[in-house]
Symmetry: C2
Subunit: 390 residues, 2 copies
């Protein structure tokens, strides 16, 4: 139990500039109980309208040693500063990263740049499980090429700790000695306050909201990583912890709270990142999501170039596209490739927003000049090949 403001800050990883913390919501009474971190006393504050924007918290696995010194999560600015300080001060030689998603890959790249030996473990058969296994496999390959020791299909079982300090990461298959370990196994909506106050939680325990970002209580709004969104391709409630969604929801909530009118219709699931020279992007539904919906689908994967083949800097790009079996409706795409690859996913995202078929995407009049694209844009080639399968 945190007894002092300092302990409280430490335990909850609170930036020094944060002065208050909300402990409890009383929705019937339209008030919130606030802890003043300066004076260390709590009081009730009334509200007319309330916005819950509590974000997400990193998932910490319940395994032995997870709280030892040397085991880091990276979520807030503060936690990022802590990792950097640890690298500067401890001069670690070996780092183990748990989880090969966005955070895991970005940390792997950063630590390699500091000259540290990096091992990465992931439960799945490939890194980046927001991609299908074949496309994630291309990323796994890039990670291995970069010199990362990649251990796939291995679960985290715990940490070997001596005198309060982590010395090794224990997986289902081996023990990896390490000076630091970084957890990158995802986040969960920080919706405990809302749940305690009786608000309904939905997908992945995200707060249920309507299109205006209003909860079931008329005066209470929620937005960002703590709130649910809607998937425009699956037509189902959805949760995705991304800055883009959080900002779009925040804008809509703000307009409505201020007396205006705005709606957040939802997302198509677009996300991207980069590992060294490999760009990674995805939008729409991936195979396992489509299977979960029980929809019949076709998938095609094509390889092309980012620029005209004759042009300097032309790089390889792989585009995978998914469509509904009978209708040919575009369902999603994934891209892995060199410089100039990732942002091409935006064309697919735009097409998902209007519910187009892959045949329609194959007919897109996209821009061409040798520095930017082969004559047939890779997205158009993928759409055409997918249309042939429908």
């Amino acid at each position: 139990v945190a007894r002092t403001p300092e302990q409280f800050r430490e335990r909850y990883d609170i930036d020094a500039h944060i002065r208050h913390r909300v402990l409890e919501l009383d929705l019937a009474g339209q008030r919130v109980r606030v802890l003043d971190l300066e004076g260390y006393e709590s009081r009730w504050e009334p509200y007319d309208r309330l916005l819950i924007a509590t974000g997400a918290v990193p998932i910490r696995p319940d395994v032995p040693g997870v709280d030892a010194e040397g085991v880091y999560s990276v979520s807030t600015l503060q936690s990022g500063i802590q990792v950097r300080r640890a690298v500067d001060e401890l001069q670690p030689k070996k780092a183990v990263i748990v989880g090969g998603g966005y955070i895991g890959l970005e940390m792997a790249e950063a630590l390699l740049l500091r000259g540290i030996d990096v091992a990465l473990i992931d439960m799945m058969p490939q890194v980046m499980n927001t991609l299908d296994s074949d496309m994630g496999g291309l990323v796994s390959e890039a990670v291995r090429q970069a010199g990362v020791d990649l251990y796939l299909e291995e679960a985290l079982e715990g940490f070997d700790v001596a005198e309060g300090r982590m010395r090794a990461v224990i997986t289902s298959a081996r023990t990896l000695e390490a000076d630091i370990a970084i957890l990158g196994i995802g986040v969960r909506p920080n919706s405990d306050l809302a749940a305690d106050a009786g608000l309904a939680l939905g997908v992945r325990n995200a707060i249920v909201v309507n299109e205006r970002m209003q909860t079931e209580r008329e005066t209470v709004w929620a937005a960002g990583d703590c709130a649910q969104t809607f998937h425009l391709v699956s037509r189902r409630p959805f949760h995705i912890a991304l800055a883009t969604t959080a900002n779009r929801q925040g804008r809509v909530a703000g307009i409505n709270l201020g007396g205006g009118y705005a709606v957040h219709r939802g997302v198509v699931g677009t996300a991207m990142t980069k590992f060294q020279d490999t760009e990674i992007a995805r939008t729409g539904l991936q195979e396992k999501e489509i299977k979960d919906l029980g929809w019949a689908f076709v998938a095609t994967k094509i390889k092309s170039r980012t620029r005209a083949g004759i042009y300097p800097g032309s790089a390889s790009i792989t585009v995978k596209m998914l469509a509904e079996q009978e209708s040919g409706r575009l369902l999603g795409a994934q891209i892995v490739g060199g410089e100039g690859s990732a942002k091409r996913i935006d064309v697919v995202a735009a097409a998902l927003h209007s519910g187009m078929t892959v045949a329609e995407v194959a007919d897109f009049d996209l821009g061409y000049a040798p520095p930017f694209s082969p004559l047939w844009d890779p997205v158009v080639i993928a759409a055409r090949q997918t249309a042939k399968q429908v």
Copy 2:
């Protein structure tokens, strides 16, 4: 008059590997008169189905001295080789380019790389007249910054010639001494054969075709720069001499000629190029095209960054967007900016294909990560600002 195959090749700028030339079409008789450039004799060849793919020819202004040595057009591979040979052999110190479109700017960049002083004249108040004047002005600025002497609102009046060789370019305002001059004032459909055979010509004298690329004669097809297309935003017949359109039309014509079924619905007018570090892209209708249609419209121009501001290599990008006044229907966009700017136009092109409003584009779930974009993509920012004007 060309009397020998060699003269014929020279006069019509024919690559050495071309063995035949079509002199005449007899559509009633389903035959074409072919000149054999080896034997130098002509004969009639019958056909079941005919494809006219005669492309475009560079416009040569009817001014004194245009046929002098040292005045070049750049259209075919052969003509490009000729210019390069002239640069290698004559070691010109001064070049004048007539026309600031795609060809003019690419030639300016290439000649600057060879250390040649470049002057460029254009009749319009800015280069790149496929952009609105404000956006073209940004390109004019980049061209000037690169050290090109830019003379705008000056018409070509002729060339000063001595002993058959061009010595200076004469504009409406000045005389510019030059060792070589390059014409880049556009192309026209090479539709003379079709016209002589009685086929209907449409916009800019391009051959009239239906969606299957069939002319009014059932057995005669046309595709590429010689053929008309359809503008999906203006809903009017259109002509645009671009590799993308030509290839899309050629594919459709080929499928239909071969007994299959395919349609070319049209284009949205997407095009892009690059001048040094400045990327230039456009799609849809520009202001003067919208005015010609008599439609009321709104326009917005925003300035943003190509990547997150904190990220190395983040460059400036300007996006202009145009929408119909009452409906808010997206009508077009133009982009000028640093690396990573041009291909963003494809999102706008995709939205034009489905007839979306700017408010819908403002709600697009586009990809974000610091290496690729600011959190709000510049296209989304432009759409949102434009939506406010509607």
